[in-house]
C-alpha cells in the first residue's frame, strides 16, 4: 500500500530537499533522466584528494526520485569517492525505507544512484580514459 511509501520521511525530503542546487565550478557535473516518467536528476561533486567535499543535486520529478536523491547526498557527503562504487540498489532502498517498490517505481528511487555512479566514472575517466570499462564493471552501473 502506498501509505507505506509516502511516509513522513519521504515527504519531508521531497518538500525540504537537502543539498539541493548547484556547485559553482564542480569537479564533476552529470545529468540523467528516466525516459518513462520524465524524472530528471543532475549531480555536482566537489572532490578534494579522494574525498567528496561537497555534493549537490538538482532535478525535478516525483517524491520518490527527489527524496531518494536528497538522502543519497547525505549518505555520501564527506565520504571517500570510491564508496560510491560499493553502494548497491538495496542500500538505497533500505536507506529510504522502501524495499518493496514495484518495478515501475524502483527506477525512480534508483535514478540518483545511477547518476552518482556515472559521475564518479566520469571523474576517473577524465584522468584515465582507459579505466572506464573496468570502473563500470566494478560499480555495477545499471
Amino acid at each position: 500500500m502506498s501509505d507505506d511509501i509516502y511516509r513522513e520521511m519521504i515527504l519531508d525530503h521531497y518538500r525540504n530537499p537537502r543539498n539541493k542546487g548547484k556547485i559553482e565550478e564542480p569537479d564533476v557535473r552529470i545529468h540523467d533522466s528516466n525516459p518513462l516518467c520524465g524524472d530528471e536528476i543532475s549531480i555536482d561533486l566537489k572532490i578534494e584528494g579522494d574525498t567528496i567535499k561537497d555534493v549537490k543535486f538538482d532535478g525535478r520529478g516525483c517524491a520518490i526520485s527527489q527524496a531518494s536523491a536528497s538522502m543519497l547526498t547525505e549518505m555520501v557527503s564527506n565520504k571517500p569517492l570510491t564508496t560510491i562504487k560499493d553502494i548497491t540498489k538495496n542500500d538505497i532502498l533500505e536507506n529510504i525505507g522502501l524495499t518493496n517498490l514495484g518495478p515501475a517505481r524502483i527506477k525512480c528511487a534508483l535514478l540518483s544512484l545511477k547518476v552518482l555512479k556515472l559521475g564518479m566514472i566520469k571523474f576517473y575517466t577524465d584522468k584515465d580514459p582507459n579505466s572506464a570499462e573496468k570502473l563500470k564493471e566494478e560499480s555495477k552501473v545499471f
Partner: protein, 414 residues
Amino acid sequence: MQALLDVYKIKQDFPILKRKLRNGKKLIYLDNAATTQKPKQVIDAICKYYSEYNSNIHRAVYQIAEEATEEYEKTRANIQRFINARYPEEIIFTRNTTESINLIAYTWGEKNIRKGNKIILTEYEHHSNIVPWQMLSNEKGAKINYTDTDENGYLNLESFSKFLEDEEETKLVSLSHMSNVLGTVYPAKEIIKMAHEKKVPVVIDGAQSVPHLRTDVQDLDCDFLAFSAHKMLGPTGVGILYVKKEILEHMPPFITGGDMIKEVHKENTVFNELPYKFEGGTPNIADVIGFNAATEYLKRIGMENVRDHEIELIKYLYNSIKDIKGIKIYGPERVIDRGGLVTFNIEGIHPHDCATILNDFGIAIRSGHHCAQVLMEKLDIIASSRASIYIYNTKEEIDIFVDALNHVRRIFKV
C-alpha cells in the same frame, strides 16, 4: 432522457472488470487512451480461430485455410464499412498506428518528399506522428513546420494556413484528429479542405479518434488514416492504414518478401495486387479476426451512443475535479470539444505519486509525458496525469476517483 448505453450490461462482457486486485479492490480502469479492455466476444473469436481453423491464409486449398482466409478478409470488408471507405483494398493491416504512419513515410514519403520540401505537423502530436517524419526529413533535407496550439488546446488555424501558403514547398500535412493529452477533437474536415485547396494531401492519425467518434473517410476526405485495434476493444498487434486507392496505386511496397508478390524471378519481382502488396509475410491472422469481433461490438452499440456516453461522463468528470484546490486541467473547457479524457496536474504532487496512490483504490490512470514531449515542452511540464474513459465506465467510478484524488491531496498536505 433514456440511458444512452446500458453500461452495467456492457460491463458483464468484460471478464477483466470482474477481477479483484491484490488489495481486494475492483479494477477501475481509466487508462483507455493507452489501451482498452477486451470483451469476451473478442477473446472468444481469437480462441475459436486457434481452436477450430488455425491455418495460414490466402494460398492453401484445404477447408480450414479457406475458413481462415474468409474470416480475415471479412474483417477487411467490415473495417471498410466501419470507416466508410470505398474499396476493401484501401484497408491495409499493420501492427499498430505507429507502423501505419511509418509505412506512409517509408513508401509515399520516400517517393514524394524531396530536398527543401516541407511537412506540416502540430505541436500536440504523439511521438509516432513526429519521429517518422523527422527521419524522412533528415534523410531528404526537408523541413517540418509545427502548427501551434493556444492555451486552451485549440489549433492556431491562422498559422496552419500561413504554412500552407508555401504551396510550392509544402507536400504533406499530418495531424492527429484528437490529442492524446489535451483531449481536443480538432476540426479535421476543415483542415483537410484547407490543405486540399492547396493540393496538399493529409494524413490523419486516428489512434484516439476512431475508437470514439463515428469516422467517415469519404466525408472527411482524408488521404490517409491510421489507427489501432487495441484502443477500440480489439487485440494488440493490429493496426489499420487506410489510403485512397488512387494514391495507394502509386506507392512502392513497404515490407517485402512472402505474400506481397505475384511472381519472383532471379532478377526481378512482380508485386501482388492491392492491398496484399503492402502486407508482406504471414500477418497477425488471429488478432485481425479478433478485431472483427470488436468492430461488430461497437457497431451493435452504435458509435453515436459511444460518443454521447463519453460526453456525458467527461462532463461529469470535468465538473467534479475542476474546483479542486491547485488543480490545472489541460485542454478545452468546452467539454463538447473534448474526446474521452482529462489530463491534469495538482500543484505540489508529481503525477507518478498521484498514480501510485490511486492504484491503492484499484484505479488505473496514466502518468508521464504520454509520448508527447513536444507538447510537454510547450506546456512547460515534465509530466501529467490522465484519466481516460470508455464505454464501460460509470459515474460511480468517477466518484471513487474524485474521492481518491482528495486522499492524495491529504497525504501530500496540499
